[in-house]
């Protein structure tokens, strides 16, 4: 199953402390456990079922595994047949969509009574969390969704919110995520973007204040598309 990790420069270049367990007691304290990787025993190594956690291609166990990024047939041999590409792509799409409940979807922060909900993915989501705290301290009803899986988009989480104003906080101009929010959130989506820097807590709180009061977001000049 191909997995695409979308990261921004702060995530890529950032350094953080990562506690690694050195003893089994450390691992227990961190809530980690070692799971032996299951592998299809071969020789019909490519399972055409949608079973999870059975990898056909664990190398080094002499199962006749074939690991490549080429489209495989049911038997695992690579193929360039057009029909095989379609079949394989649909199999993967349905496998993900049918198991979407197993994927981490989104973290919901103070959304129950919120009037404005920030939506963020990656680095901005931390500033957004602080902004929710600060906005609440100032009496604004702000909440946030920190998206963890972008596809399949967590529509169900958007559907369960009461009518709110959405604010997509992104590290780009003009918005890439905001249109998905418009679609899943039933309109009312606004955008605040920054390039090369994170937004500040203060400007997010001000944005929440403007949206709560029904005012447009402030931009640096009339042609700027950094917020709308």
């Amino acid at each position: 199953m191909p997995i695409t990790l979308l990261a921004d420069q702060i995530v890529i270049d950032g350094w953080e402390t990562l506690p690694l367990p050195e003893t089994s007691a450390d691992a227990d304290a961190l809530g980690l456990r070692v799971a032996e990787r299951k592998a299809h025993p071969g020789p019909d190594f490519y399972p055409t079922t949608a079973d999870l956690d059975v990898s056909p291609v664990v190398l080094g166990r002499n199962t006749g595994a074939a690991c490549s990024d080429w489209t495989p047939t049911e038997e695992g041999f690579d193929t360039e047949e057009v029909e095989a590409q379609h079949k394989h792509a649909w199999r993967l799409i349905y496998k993900v969509c049918n198991n979407r409940h197993l994927l981490p979807r989104a973290e919901e922060i103070e959304v129950a009574d919120a009037d404005v909900i920030f939506v963020a993915y990656g680095s901005p989501s931390r500033v957004v969390k602080s902004a929710v705290r600060e906005a609440r301290r100032q009496g604004l009803k702000a909440g946030a969704l920190r998206l963890r899986t972008l596809w399949p988009f967590p529509d169900e989480i958007f559907h369960r919110q009461r009518p709110v104003k959405w604010l997509s906080v992104e590290l780009n101009y003009d918005g890439q995520l905001v249109r998905e929010i418009q679609r899943a959130g039933g309109g009312g989506a606004h955008f605040l973007g920054r390039c090369g820097e994170l937004p500040g807590v203060a400007e997010l709180v001000e944005a929440a204040r403007s949206l709560s009061a029904g005012r447009p977001l402030t931009v640096s000049d009339p042609f700027a598309k950094e917020a709308w």
Binding site: E22, L59, G60, N62, G64, A65, A66, C67, D69, F77
Partner: protein, 285 residues
């Protein structure tokens, strides 16, 4: 079916899908002969492939485990695999000239620099033949190809004082050899020694593509004539009188490092982490 194919290859892929007259089968067979001589079983070796003719034709033919990486990434994948697999398990990669000496050259150089214990067999057909015969980085000077209709205009890695093996040697490769597909026992012996070598080893084997390269550049359409062309240029006798501008192949073992060179990557990294784990840290001076 061929004895070696029965012994080592998946029946489904034993009949190659390569073009008639392709020299790749000869290269594949030499590798299998070397494997047989070493007594390697299918569970002892993980076989990786690049892309292009060599990658696509040889991928998943091995009865044991197979992997492939697109466009020059297979060396990076293999380096990671070297750390994940037990040290006694062999890793062998079959790649093409475009993959090794062009698109993936940077990965290849870093793999050589780290001296990861794996063997790379570069099966060289003078260009990008699977995509229709465009020139690449070993295409002879002046050769007419799909993308060099007036003759190869780009300096290659093989002529005018350049040799890709020199570069790999400078990067730290411990074993380097060159053969052509028309050679027999000596090529098998070279491959065998490459597999036996503990550390990064590479064998460059030139083979003819009749469909694209030979039909365009020297204008040869008969496979036998293509193989003869290659044979004539393999270690030519001085009396053969090829002009200096003509590409000829001096074959054999090009370089073999002594025991005092760079330690093997996995070995070195395991020793390094063991030292840190034992609390000694490492000398940062």
């Amino acid at each position: 079916m061929d004895r070696l194919a029965t012994k080592y290859l998946k029946p489904r892929k034993a009949l190659s899908t390569a073009c008639a007259g392709c020299g790749l089968g000869q290269v594949h067979k030499k590798i299998l002969l070397a494997i047989e001589q070493l007594g390697i079983a299918d569970g002892d070796l993980v076989w990786g492939a690049g892309i292009g003719c060599t990658g696509r034709q040889i991928f998943n033919t091995w009865k044991g485990d197979n992997f492939a990486g697109t466009h020059g990434r297979v060396y990076a994948l293999a380096t990671g695999l070297r750390l994940a697999l037990p040290p006694e398990k062999k890793i062998l990669l079959t790649v093409g000239d475009g993959d090794a000496f062009g698109i993936g050259l940077l990965h290849l150089l870093h793999c050589a620099r780290r001296n990861a214990d794996l063997t790379v067999i570069v099966a060289d057909n003078f260009g990008y033949q699977s995509t229709g015969g465009q020139y690449a980085w070993t295409t002879p000077d002046g050769a007419v190809t799909d993308s060099s209709p007036h003759g190869m205009q780009d300096p290659n890695w093989m002529q005018n004082g350049r040799d890709i093996l020199d570069m790999l040697r400078a990067a730290g490769a411990g074993f380097l050899a060159r053969y052509t597909s028309v050679e027999g026992r000596n090529a098998v012996s070279g491959i065998r020694q490459a597999i036996e070598h503990r550390g990064f080893s590479l064998v460059h084997i030139i083979y003819p593509c009749v469909t694209h390269f030979f039909s365009k550049a020297p204008g040869i359409r008969q496979p036998a004539d293509a193989h003869r062309w290659l044979r004539d240029r393999t270690n030519p006798s001085p009396s053969a009188e090829f002009p200096a501008s003509e590409l000829t192949f001096k074959t054999g073992i090009f370089h073999r490092a002594g025991h005092d060179t760079t330690p093997e990557f996995g070995e070195q990294l395991r020793a390094f982490t063991k030292k840190i784990r034992e609390g000694g840290g490492h000398d940062t001076r």
